[in-house]
């Protein structure tokens, strides 16, 4: 019962219209042009006029090209065979492996009943002290990495992918540069993690509409694996490209823009994706870590701003380091009292001293005279930056806590740290005391 139409009425941007009957909202169609076949999705129905967004873009579409409606919405295969495979933004393999067509599942399914959600309680260790110690990542959390272009956010994601304590990884690339895509692939391959990963990669050279599907594909697959008991980490890079693709389609469809050209439903669109993060009671979980590049390092830009209202905190990546001040994991309180008794004290203590160091550093830069205490803070700040904040530091949480005590002992007397006495008695390094 597939319907074929041969007359395209209009081509505007990446949206075409055809006259057709019995077409469902969000149904898929296949368009055959001289460049090959492309998928398209119904985005508006008005009487018998159907508007479709063409995944491959509208370049080269002829008014008499064939449009064939497939009778189903966007779907993706789901099976264990997907592990280690790489797909594009239409769900078609981009590695040289065979096409997978069994067990197709619908994407962008219904949302989880809030009454079935549980309070998050398990930490995901990453061996990155700035995350584990200061802003712990928690199972079912949704966290963006706010950063400007040029920061090593993809390197950070790849490291988290390799080291995070999860069963599997779903990586979604939206507008990913080709070399970054190869970097992910090679890094995960060398690290032996590719076999527990699924990639959906839309590169910067692919048609922009195709990138729109990537988050939904990733999250639909992740959700299914989670329901089968897997703890899945979804990495998305970069969600600003996703928002820009939404903007492009919205403008083409002549929607009234709300803020800097972005459509009025940007918040709902982003939330629909991020809210897929969940911990299923009695099954697995989905945790979402997504890069959001901030144009002009402006956190009030509509994309990071709306994201910040949706997600449970954020990591600021600046100058190659995760900033301790702006970064926040809203869920860390749920887990960091169950790790080691000194975790919270070290977390607060080190940051308070680092904040004092920043003040001292400003005073020093302005040419003020440095006191003994200032000297200690300067020493501390440098040690903290090189031994804790640097992204190359790769140690387990307990080692990082020990290292925190060691840095304190190198710079201060126990009283100066304002730590609780019982913790000092237990954890202060003996040889230094």
């Amino acid at each position: 019962m597939q319907k074929v139409y041969n007359k395209i009425l209009s081509v505007t941007g990446n949206v075409i219209t055809v006259k057709a009957a019995d077409v469902a909202y969000e149904e898929l169609a296949e368009i055959t042009t001289f460049r090959g076949k492309s998928l398209a999705q119904v985005i508006k129905l008005e009487n018998d006029i159907v508007s479709l967004q063409v995944f491959a873009g509208s370049q080269g579409i002829s008014t008499n090209d064939e449009v064939r409606f497939l009778g189903n919405p966007m779907r993706v295969t789901f099976s264990d065979n997907m592990l280690g495979r790489i797909f594009n933004g239409s769900g078609i393999p981009r590695d040289k492996g065979p096409a997978l067509t069994e067990n197709m599942i619908e994407i962008a399914g219904p949302s989880v009943n809030p009454a079935k959600r549980i309070i998050p309680k398990n930490m995901i260790r990453t061996n990155i002290p700035m995350i584990d110690v200061f802003n712990s990542l928690v199972v079912s959390q949704k966290l963006p990495i706010f950063s400007v272009s040029g920061e090593p956010y993809n390197e950070l994601l790849a490291r988290i992918a390799l080291q995070a304590e999860v069963d599997m990884i779903v990586l979604g690339g939206i507008g990913l540069k080709y070399d970054q895509y190869m970097y992910f692939k090679n890094t995960l391959e060398e690290g032996g993690a590719l076999s527990r990963s699924v990639f959906f990669v839309h590169t910067a050279s692919d048609p922009i509409v195709e990138g729109l599907m990537v988050p939904d594909l990733c999250l639909a697959v992740a959700e299914k694996f989670a329901l089968k008991g897997k703890n899945v980490l979804v990495l998305l890079t970069d969600m600003t490209n996703f928002a820009d693709a939404l903007k492009e389609i919205a403008i083409t469809m002549e929607q009234v823009p709300s803020n800097r050209g972005y459509p009025g439903d940007l918040y709902s669109q982003l939330a629909a994706r991020y809210e897929k993060a969940v911990d299923f009671e009695g099954a697995g979980s989905v945790t979402v870590l997504a890069v959001t590049t901030m144009p002009g390092d402006d956190v009030t830009h509509p994309v990071p701003d709306n994201t910040g209202y949706i997600t449970e905190g954020q990591f600021y990546l600046r100058n190659g380091r995760i900033e301790p001040f702006g970064s926040l994991s809203r869920l860390k309180q749920q887990v960091n009292d169950k790790t080691r008794e000194d975790h919270r004290a070290i977390m607060d203590g080190l940051i308070q001293l680092y904040a004092q160091y920043i003040e001292t550093e400003e005073k020093r830069a302005m040419g003020f005279r440095m006191s003994d205490w200032d000297g200690k803070l300067l020493k501390y700040g440098n040690l903290f930056e090189s031994n804790m904040m640097d992204l190359s530091v790769n140690i387990a949480l307990e080692d990082a806590l020990d290292r925190g005590w060691k840095i304190l002992a190198e710079c201060f007397t126990p009283e100066e740290t304002r730590m609780k006495t019982d913790l000092i008695n237990k954890f202060w390094p003996k040889e230094a005391a």
């Binding site: 969000e26 149904e27 129905l45 919405p73 219904p110 809030p114 009234v256 803020n259 809210e275």
Partner: protein, 580 residues
């Protein structure tokens, strides 16, 4: 009423256009039939024989030509016993029951009754056969938790009716007929324990609307003392993300001295509601000794749930609030966040291709916001008793900039403004309500002249602080420096409050009176302090004593001991004015 039918002629996102025959009404509910799914929709615009309807579900799979069944009813909620303690979505679907039937996901097209039709309630009639009744008259009551839940004649019954029959005291289900009424024209109605009411129409079956005067205690010091909320009043909490809006709402929902709290989680994170959902049944309400959940209703339409239902959710919440207010109770409605609700209106307005106003919000944004807050109020009911509905809404302005349409439209209509500041939250000064920019038109239980004195110190302290940033500490006189220290002292020990602490998190009016008096004495005192270092160390000491004091229970002996320590320190440094 004869029910009309229609067919879909257009689909655009969550809006469908429907060609219909017969009569339909604005805001009428219809069902779009897609295979086995019946998708609830609401008429929002009628033009010729085309009705524009917002669909409360995902429209995926709908087709042009699909049928729409109209119901002849406006979007309504069920009002009757059994609402307290429930968790509903924006259309009053009980989420726990949905979870029992369909597991993890919100299945499309499933609609359940909001009330338990099987449960039996012990009904005590108070009206007698032969009584003259009208909409809003009380027939009797049932016991719902700790409250006497009044059973009303439906609010839309107009004119006088005579009570023909009423059942005797016994157990009944909400769907059983309790009474029959008849008017002069012989029109009869059988009345049950519940009835339906359209959410977008305010309930006005009361004698008079009064000016809110009495404070509604929230037990948050900066609110109750400086920027109070009145029973029946309105307030808003705008703030950028991460400034603690939701935590503040959660704290208020726990400690506010209202009879009933309705939490409308409107388009926000599901995770935040979960904490309330899981914790409230465990927490005991200190005033009643019962779980907090028994006085709470949660309307939960989180960010990933359908947008149109989000638009409806605040009205659902307001209607439930008005219903309980009719029983003479004090109801507090907390809406988090009204910006998401406004955005839902914006999405819809865009799909209707209306001419946009500022930032693409519809031109009627301001009047809709005003209408919503106007549903709050202190009323004198027909039996002379009083009930109130207080509305507090958070606003999430884009980029944290208050100069945007939702914040500005809200400020025009509310009675108090609790503006959250990013600077204060970055400095971990919680609650991050800005003490210089916020305001309230309501009266606190603390005399106004005392508050003014304290505010003056805050303003002066801020001036000194600004000056110090330029000229440094060295360039500031000792007198000015002490004013700065005093304002910091007030901020640290009184404005800031640890909402996660059992004692400090909730400060009773009695305690606020006591502590504020003491703080004010410090602010007014001229201390014998000659140098800045001396002043700083004195205020540091005093601050520490006060903060520790805040953490002692008033009934604890330590509370009094600590107060003595504070008095001792103050006396030690008081100037000649007081004399030693």
């Amino acid at each position: 009423m004869k029910q009309s039918k229609g067919t879909i002629v257009g689909i655009n996102g969550n809006m469908i256009s429907v060609a219909f025959e017969g009569n339909i009404i604005q805001n009428e509910v219809g069902y779009a039939i897609s295979g086995e799914d019946r998708l609830k929709s609401e008429v929002i615009k009628i033009q010729g024989n085309i009705a524009y309807m917002q669909v409360f579900e995902i429209t995926k799979g709908l087709k042009v030509g699909d049928e729409v069944e109209f119901t002849g009813e406006m979007l309504s909620v069920q009002l009757g016993p059994g609402i307290l303690g429930m968790v509903y979505d924006g259309l009053q679907n009980p989420l726990n029951e949905l979870a029992k039937m369909h597991g993890f996901f919100l299945k499309r097209g499933v609609i359940l009754d909001a009330l338990d039709f099987e449960k039996e309630w012990e009904f005590t009639p108070t009206a007698k056969t032969g009584d003259t009744v009208t909409g809003g008259s009380v027939l009797g009551h049932v016991k719902e938790g700790i409250f006497e839940h009044k059973i009303f004649v439906p609010f839309d019954i107009r004119g006088n009716y005579s009570l023909k029959s009423i059942v005797k005291k016994d157990k009944y289900k909400v769907v059983e007929t309790l009474a029959t009424i008849e008017n002069e024209k012989g029109i009869k109605h059988d009345l049950m324990m519940y009835f339906e009411w359209p959410v977008k129409i305010p309930i006005t079956n009361y004698r008079d609307k009064l000016v809110p005067r009495e404070p509604l205690t929230t037990q948050t010091r900066i609110i109750d003392t400086f920027f109070p909320v009145a029973k029946g009043g309105t307030y808003c909490i705008p703030g950028p993300f991460g400034a603690g809006k939701t935590v503040l709402q959660q704290v208020t929902s726990r400690f506010a001295e209202a009879d009933i709290v309705i939490i409308a989680a409107c388009g926000e994170r599901a995770g935040e509601v979960v904490e309330t959902l899981r914790e409230f049944p465990e927490i005991t309400d200190p005033r009643t000794g019962k779980p907090l959940m028994e006085r709470t209703i949660i309307i939960c339409n989180t960010s990933s749930m359908p947008v149109a239902a989000r638009e409806a959710s605040v009205y659902t919440a307001a209607t439930l609030g008005e219903y309980y207010r009719q029983m003479g109770l004090n109801v507090l409605l907390l809406a988090d966040s009204t910006s998401r609700w406004a955005q839902a209106m914006r999405e819809l307005s865009g799909r209707l291709e209306e001419i946009p106003g500022e930032e693409a919000f519809p031109a009627y944004l301001g009047s809709r916001i005003a209408q919503f807050y106007e549903r709050a109020g202190l009323v004198e009911l027909n039996d002379g008793s009083r009930g109130s509905l207080t509305i507090g809404g958070t606003v999430s302005p884009a980029g944290g900039n208050f100069e945007e349409p939702v914040t500005q439209s809200t400020l025009k209509v509310v009675g108090a403004f609790h503006g959250l500041s990013r600077d204060r939250s970055n400095a971990r000064r919680y609650p991050a309500i800005h003490p210089l920019e916020s305001w309230s038109k309501y009266k606190s239980f603390i005399p106004q002249n005392m508050i003014d004195e304290a505010r003056k110190i805050l303003f002066k302290g801020n001036e000194v602080h600004q000056m110090m940033l330029v000229v440094g500490e060295e360039g500031t006189s000792v007198e000015d420096y002490i004013i700065y220290l005093k304002s910091e002292f007030l901020d640290n020990v009184y404005l800031q409050q640890n909402s996660f602490d059992a004692v400090d998190g909730a400060t009773s009016p009695e305690r606020q009176n006591l502590v504020f008096q003491k703080v004010l004495n410090v602010l007014k005192e001229e201390f014998k302090l000659k140098e800045k270092d001396e002043a700083r160390s004195f205020f540091n000491k005093l601050r520490q004593l006060f903060i520790d004091w805040n953490y002692f229970d008033m009934k604890d002996d330590k509370f009094n001991e600590q107060e003595a320590l504070i008095n001792q320190l103050i006396e030690e440094y008081s100037g000649d004015a007081k004399g030693l």
